[in-house]
């Protein structure tokens, strides 16, 4: 790994906790990448090529459709397991059993451990299983591929963006460090009060239980309030600036081999990917002149949702498993 990529690896962890991405100094950019940057700078023909590619770019929804199907399937599996008593995936997203194996959501487990201060074996086993699972699967991929609130928020986001386009509302960003602050506050609240305070407002748990057990209709009003807030005020407010589950899985994703990989060569730096991204700060590397190497892995805050992969007209953003190319 080049010095630039090393620096970026650390920098992207800081970015996940809320700092702004740093612009790499020239010394940190690998020579091959510098050549490409230099070439693009001096080559006006690229614009014509860009327009051409854009005209021919088909709008794909491949990854989005796969992801939505997975998300709906996973949540339906919970529902039908109980409804038809087929016992494949029993429980809810906070904790469940997949054909008998304990699975426990990392953030829920953390809340319970901090609040109750006593850990039984099953809790540990379930947490360990899920930890390994999401290390393999990409950490925050939990958010975009499983969390039911993510899907609703995605639809709310579409309405929000339509309203922005109609100039009926404005995009209003919030300080990203807030999510880290919330994570710490909710952890402290669990320790100090002895209640799993975050669980009482977690839309992930509320939605999961509502779907499976039909319980918590009042709690659904809170979820609705969040969605309304996101439609009219702050784009993707909960997932971006509040949810500690996302940060927990983000930390897991630091060491995950599954991520999106950026290839500098063909990129036109149009920034379409950053517009559809839930966490555009992870895509700072696609900005002209920023890539520190010819190939740059995207950081841990990325939810591996694949919207950028679908959007990129040049195929510069792709799913990648670290080390897989060497193995095959």
């Amino acid at each position: 790994m080049s010095a630039g990529l090393k620096r970026r690896f650390v920098d992207q962890i800081k970015v996940m906790f809320g700092s702004d991405p740093a612009k790499p100094t020239k010394e940190l950019i690998a020579p091959q990448a510098q050549v490409i940057h230099q070439y693009k700078k001096g080559n006006r023909d690229l614009i014509a090529e860009k327009l051409h590619a854009r005209a021919h770019a088909e709008h794909k929804n491949i990854w989005r459709n796969r992801r939505w199907a997975t998300l709906i399937f996973a949540n339906l599996l919970f529902v039908v397991s109980f409804y038809f008593d087929i016992q494949i995936l029993e429980g809810a997203l906070t904790a469940s059993r997949f054909i008998g194996f304990h699975l426990i959501d990392l953030n829920s487990a953390l809340q319970v451990m901090l609040a109750h201060k006593h850990i039984i074996t099953n809790l540990l086993i379930g947490t360990g299983t899920v930890l390994v699972l999401w290390i393999l699967l990409g950490g925050r991929s939990f958010c975009s591929w499983v969390c039911p609130y993510h899907l609703l928020a995605e639809w709310a986001e579409k309405i929000h963006l339509w309203l922005v386009q109609k100039k009926l509302v404005t995009d209003a960003p919030v300080d990203r460090r807030l999510r880290t602050v919330f994570w710490v506050i909710f952890a402290l609240l669990a320790v100090l009060t002895g209640y799993t305070v975050f669980e009482s407002i977690s839309p992930t748990g509320i939605l999961s239980r509502a779907m499976i057990y039909g319980s918590g209709l009042l709690a659904m009003l809170w979820v609705l309030a969040l969605l309304v807030f996101e439609v009219f005020f702050v784009r993707r407010a909960w997932c971006r600036y509040a949810c500690p589950i996302g940060l927990t899985y983000g930390v897991v994703g630091i060491i995950s081999p599954l991520r999106i990989k950026y290839t500098l060569d063909g990129c036109f730096h149009e920034g379409d990917c950053r517009k559809v991204c839930l966490v555009p700060h992870v895509l700072d590397t696609v900005i002209k002149g920023r890539a520190v190497d010819t190939e740059v892995p995207i950081g841990p805050d990325c939810t591996r949702c694949g919207l950028c992969v679908d959007t990129c007209p040049t195929g510069s953003l792709k799913f990648d498993v670290k080390g897989l190319a060497k193995l095959v």
Partner: protein
């Protein structure tokens, strides 16, 4: 296309004051929004304490539940206990329970736990030890909560292992409205205990050892009402005894004994409205 956008939302350039008036205003607005979101989320989260503080009535928790505070902290709100219960006695609370949202409870009058599963399956299903056979040593035991002996399940009385693996009771039955109790009035009962529209189920050993049936499908006809005694799934937990009323007259009355685990079947089956006998959740046994 929008490279210039990348610095929006980063008005906090280290230490330096924002350059233009516009930038300053942007930063201020963003700070206000951040404060608003912080306040809103924390306010919503902490308001969950209110229902706990002002709870009028304690919830009856499933068998093997830790004491209320520990129960709320250790429960992961997954509902696996709900899924294994053969009579669907366990429900999950709503946001009106505050921090107790998603936490299981039993509305005994609606559907009590009659141990149709034979083995307290909900305890087995619990992944965090909120429902537990063996309470960890560092947790205190409520006075009177510990059972003198393991309760004998009548349905299993003739099995090699007739007891339920239950060390503590979840409550105690109490004749809260003796004035309305049919037995005390010397009255019998004929018909469906809870009327034709009642959905609750119980396991009747005389009907089917393995399958609970609707209470509405099992009408009673007794000279002196003893439905609570008949329905009680635990051996020696309740019986009809002769008692002396304050005026010195002899009456028959249901009397609760030490083996009562607080399951709530008596409250469920009681044909008077409201029930004459009720479970006091979390209550210990007092001789």
């Amino acid at each position: 296309m929008s490279e210039e956008e990348e610095n929006v939302g980063s008005g906090k350039t280290a230490g330096k004051p924002p350059v233009s008036k516009e930038r300053a205003q942007q930063a201020r607005r963003r700070f206000l929004r951040t404060a608003l979101l912080t306040g809103g989320v924390l306010g919503a989260a902490l308001s969950g304490y209110l229902p706990i503080a002002y709870a009028q009535k304690k919830r009856l928790r499933p068998p093997g539940a830790l004491d209320e505070k520990d129960f709320l902290s250790s429960c992961i709100k997954c509902g696996q206990c709900v899924q294994v219960c053969p009579v669907f006695a366990i429900k999950l609370a709503d946001l009106s329970d505050g921090f107790g949202v998603g936490v299981p409870y039993i509305d005994a009058r609606e559907q009590a736990c009659d141990f149709s599963c034979d083995a307290v399956q909900c305890i087995l299903a619990c992944p965090t030890g909120s429902l537990t056979y063996i309470k960890p040593d560092f947790l205190p035991v409520r006075p009177g909560a510990r059972m003198a002996d393991k309760p004998i399940l009548l349905a299993k009385e003739n099995d090699p292992e007739p007891t339920l693996n239950l060390a503590e009771r979840i409550g105690v039955a109490r004749l809260t409205r003796p004035e309305s109790c049919l037995a005390i009035q010397g009255k019998g009962f004929k018909g469906q205990a809870r009327g034709p529209d009642y959905d609750g189920e119980l396991r009747y050993m005389s009907v089917d050892r393995w399958k609970p049936i609707k209470v509405a499908d099992h009408p009673y006809d007794v000279e002196l009402c003893d439905l609570c005694v008949q329905a009680c799934p635990i051996k020696n937990a309740i019986s009809i005894e002769t008692v002396f009323a304050p005026d010195g007259t002899q009456r028959k009355s249901p009397v609760v004994h030490e083996p009562c685990v607080g399951c709530g079947v008596c409250e469920m089956i009681c044909p008077t409205e409201p029930a004459s006998i009720e479970i006091i959740p979390g209550e210990g046994w007092r001789a």
